[in-house]
Structures are given as C-alpha cells and as structure tokens.
C-alpha cells in the first residue's frame, strides 16, 4: 500500500502553526500575547480552508489506519472552527493572566489535531494515540494558570481521573484485540461478525470497558465526576473548548467504533448505552438545578446534552441501518448547533468577565442593562440549549430524536423530551438574573471590544440560522455519515471490507 502523505496537509498546517507559535515566543519573549492568539486563529482558518479541498474527494486511506472521508472532513471543519473561536476568546483573557502564552496556543492547536484524528482513525492504536494527544493537551490547558489554586487543582483531578479511565479503555481494547487478533477496525468488524451468535464474556467485558473509557471522555454519568471541577477551574476559553471539542471528538470516536467494528455485536452493548443515556441526561439536568456557579451549571447542562446525544448511539444499536444513519446525521447536526450555542455563550461570558471579573450566576445580575448585546447572546444560546423553537437546539434535537425513534427506544426519547423541559427551568433562573435584577451599584454600561463583538454576533446568527433553516448543515451532516454506513464508498479497503459483507 502506498503512503499518501497529502492526506495530512490540513494537519501539517495546524502542527506547523503550533510549532511556529512556540518558536515565536522563544525567539521574541516580549511578543504581544494577543498577537499570538490572532496568529493561532489565522492558522486555524488556513487549516479549515485547506480541509475544504477534501470535500467530495475520493476516500483517502493511509495504510488502513487513517481514513480521510467526508466524516473526517466534517470534524476537520468543526475542529478548526472551534480552535479559531477559542483562540479569539483567549486573546484578551489570557493576555492579562499569563506571561507566557506560546504553549497555550500551541497546545490548543495540537488538541484540535487530536480531535481530528480521533474522527479519522480506523485502527485502535491510532485512535488511542489521538485520544491521548487531545487529553494531554487539555490536562495542561486546564492547569495553565499555575498560580491559580482552582486551575491547578482542576487539572490534577482531571489527569488522575483521565489516566484512570485511559487504563480501563486500554484494558478493553486489549481484550478486543485478544478476541479478534487485530487492531484494525475492519478486521475487528469481520472477526466479530464471524463469531456473532455465541456470547462471549471477554467480548462483553471488553465492550463495557471501552464504553467506560469513551464515556469518561464525553463525561457521561456516572463517569462525569471530573467535568464540573475541570470546567470550573479551567480558564474560561478552555472551558468552552472542553465542552465543545472534547465532546465532539469523543462522539466522533464513538460513531466510528460503534457503527463499524462493533456493530455486529450490538446486542451486547446497546442496553448499556441506553441505560447510560438515561442516567446521564437525568443526572446532568437534576444536578444542574442546584448549581450556583455558572461554569458548573454549564458543565452539568452539557452532561445533560451528552445524554441526549447518547440516545443516538443507543438507536444505532436498536435500529436498522436506515435508523442508524438518520440518527447519526441528527447527532452531527445537533453537534454543530450545540457547538455554536456553547461558543456563543462563552463569547458573551468571556467578554463580560474581561470587564467585570464575574463568572457566577448572581454575577450576571443586571446584565441586560449594563450590556444588552451580551445579554441577547446569553439569551439566544440558553434558549437554544433548552430547545425553544427558532433556535438551533430545537431544530437539531427534533431531527436527532426523530431519527432515533425506534422500537424499544421510545421510552428513552420520551425521557429526553421530559428532560428538556426540566432544563428550561435552570436556564430561566440564569436569565432571571440577567433581566429582572438591577445591576450592582457602581456598575455602568460598558462596551465590548470589536473582536468579541463580531465573534459573538456571528455565532448568534449561526444559532438562529441553524434553527430556522437547517437545510445546508443537515445536508453536510448527511454526506458526513455516508462513509460510516458504506454509502458511496467504492473499494476503500480491499480484503477486509469484502470479508465483512
């Protein structure tokens, strides 16, 4: 098999940018830190644009371990977009808090690369390395404010739990390797399909451990303990990154694994995922109600969102091929809407924090008076989370749940809808502070810098656009799920593929 390095050009750009950012600060220690942020954003932009050239290309395969298809392209665009926005959010925020920012922006780009390869991996070792690239970058980014007690504490807790879950994930992978004799997804799928029928304790234990590992990465309850702490302690832009990139990456990996190699054994894992989804969404939403700290509230609300997304994975197990593709398309669509809403919310929170230094729920009081524009963004994004009509969350959840409805899973979809109503309560509690209370004495109206203003406005428009007219994004999501289900894949992998059909 020939080695086609042109498949990696977008990530070469990103990795090169990461090295340049590091080098720039080494050579010119006095460089303005916000320039580094804008440079990172430019690299992310170039990364995203270069990824556009892969749309509609034939599926590229590197030695069977990495596949660049529409699914990979989808996550390249999403990943570079997230890095772009997070870099812009960090500019002012980090400028005030650190003397060295080169590593911060370098690691941000590397984390994005890890995310892309989690989506592109077609082999267990590659998937594991990509996952650890993302995780390690995040451990350090969460603890980047070394003088800050909360930041360092959050990162230590995060890495201890993360290392623990990686070990479980690895043990699961080692069992799957032992059963199938290969680490390639295609080979695993073929081997499992050959032996389907006889239940095998080792296989079930392996699947459960893998599920625990990825469940930790996407912070599904009961593996969610790290999320609130890491969210609260991390610098604000990194909290945004955690709740978007690491979840998107986790679901990319889950989709590749559970629609492909593990699909043949759906009976062994589908009940576990359905239970995980139910526990995750209920726990996330119920605990969110009690939160006083805004970052913790967002953490639990995002755990609730993960529960909704897991409904799709359960539907992949319960439903047939068509259900699986419709549900997955819904998941990718919802992911885009969720990422836009989350980033919009954090743009507003960062702009507000830069000016006022407040990031608690009570700290938002009177925001509608001091900064009506930010208050609008917060309102739009929270309504989108809650799933009110005309905002992204409503439309994308509708598509996602509609796609996931299948025999034996109606109860879960009903539970998800009920949970959405619960979530409205705590989002409204936040908005109550924003609109119904007077600002604290001494707080006057202030203006927002142009960068954050434009970012926030663009993301808010995106949220409304997806909510009103989801057509284009839906189309993109559908093309992205094609390769997962073998639609339009012509002779990608040879012997192994033939074997599995």
């Amino acid at each position: 098999m020939e080695r086609d390095y042109t498949l990696f050009i977008p990530e070469f750009i990103a990795a090169g940018g990461a090295v340049l950012v590091l080098a720039a600060e080494l050579i010119y220690p006095k460089v303005r830190k916000d320039y580094l942020a804008y440079f990172t954003a430019a690299v992310a932009l170039a990364w995203g644009i270069s990824a556009l050239f892969y749309i509609g290309n034939t599926v590229g395969n590197f030695q069977g371990v990495i596949q660049t298809d529409n699914f990979t392209t989808f996550f390249r665009l999403l990943g570079s977009g997230i890095v772009f926005v997070v870099a812009l959010l960090s500019a002012q925020y980090m400028n005030r808090r650190t003397k060295t920012a080169g590593e911060y922006y370098g690691l941000l780009l590397l984390a994005g690369i890890g995310m892309v390869y989690m989506a592109a991996a077609r082999e267990l070792i590659t998937a594991y390395i990509a996952l650890e690239l993302l995780s390690f970058s995040l451990y350090v980014l969460v603890g980047y404010l070394t003088k800050d007690n909360l930041s360092t504490e959050a990162s230590l807790k995060y890495i201890l739990l993360g290392a623990f879950s990686s070990a479980m994930f690895l043990y699961g992978m080692s069992l799957v390797y032992g059963i199938t004799g290969t680490t390639y997804y295609d080979g695993i799928g073929a081997a499992l399909a050959d032996r389907s029928g006889d239940t095998d304790t080792a296989a079930v234990v392996g699947f459960m451990l893998i599920l625990a590992g990825v469940g930790f990465k996407v912070s599904a309850a009961p593996f969610h303990m790290w999320a609130p702490d890491a969210y609260e302690g991390a610098p604000l832009p990194i909290t945004a990154f955690l709740s978007t990139a690491s979840k998107a990456a986790g679901f990319a990996l889950i989709l590749r694994l559970f629609t492909g190699p593990l699909a043949a054994n759906a009976d062994d894992w589908k009940w576990a995922i359905a239970a995980l989804a139910a526990i995750t969404m209920t726990a996330g939403n119920l605990i969110a109600i009690q939160q006083k700290n805004l970052k913790r509230l967002v953490a639990y609300s995002s755990i609730g969102q993960v529960g909704y997304m897991l409904v799709v994975i359960a539907a992949i197990g319960y439903g047939d091929r068509d259900t699986a593709q419709n549900a997955s398309t819904g998941l990718l669509l919802h992911m885009v809407g969720y990422v836009c809403s989350t980033l919009a919310l954090f743009t507003a929170l960062t702009a507000y924090y830069n000016r006022t230094g407040k990031d608690t729920i009570a700290g938002l009081r009177g925001m509608a008076e001091t900064q009506p524009f930010l208050a609008t963004i917060v309102t739009v994004s929270l309504f989108s989370f809650a799933g009110l009509p005309f905002f992204a969350g409503f439309t994308t959840k509708l598509f996602m749940f509609q796609g996931s409805v299948t025999d034996g899973l109606l109860w879960l979809v009903a539970l998800a809808v009920a949970n959405s109503f619960v979530s409205l309560y705590y989002y409204l509690m936040v908005l109550r502070q924003v609109y119904l209370f007077d600002p604290e004495p001494g707080m006057s109206r202030f203006s927002v810098g142009p960068v954050l203003w434009v970012t926030g406005a663009a993301l808010t428009l995106g949220v409304i656009f997806i909510g009103v007219y989801p057509g284009p994004v839906f189309e993109g999501a559908e093309r992205a799920t094609d390769p997962l289900f073998g639609v339009g894949v012509d002779a990608v992998d040879h012997a192994a593929m033939d074997h599995s059909h």
Binding site: E153, L160, A163, A167, S174, T182, R296
Partner: protein, 104 residues
Amino acid sequence: MTLELEHFLTVGALLFSLGLFVALSKRNAIGVLMGVELMLNAVNLTLLSFSRFSVSERPVAGQTFVVFVITVAAAEAAVALALAVSVYRNRQTVDIDRINLLKS
C-alpha cells in the same frame, strides 16, 4: 505444567484489579498514579500474552501496541507529576482529600 494463555491472562486481570484498588483507595495523588501505572502494566501483559499465544494474521500488532502504551504511560506520568508539583507549590500538599476548593 506448562504455562498457557489463561495463566498470563489471570495474572493480568489480578494485576489490573490490584491497580484499580490502589487507584481508588489511595488519598495521595502520587499513590493514585502508581495504581494507574499498575493498571497499564496489566494491559501490557494482556496484550503481550494475546500476541504470543493467539494465532493471528498480525501478531506484531500486540507488541507494537505495548510499545505505544509504555511511551504514552511515561508521558502521562511526566505530565501528571508536573501538575502535582504545580499544585504542591500552591498548597504544600498533594492529598486529594485536602485539595477540595472545587465544590458544588
């Protein structure tokens, strides 16, 4: 008695459980890390015994995997210890019961 696959797997599973227990019961961050390292070594043992005993088309994959796991484990220890040091500088302790500023 000859050593079979089962013996190695049993040792691997025991080692993994021991590591799990250590990681969950230790209150010291470094102790937790040591438990995790035990778990990773159990994984390595399992991978190696599978690649040694099961007849597969790619027996090398298991050994390659082990090399990667060892490398990543080393990196993980380095990052985790660095973060522990940065906590220790601020708080003069790495006892996870006493590192409890983050609470709901």
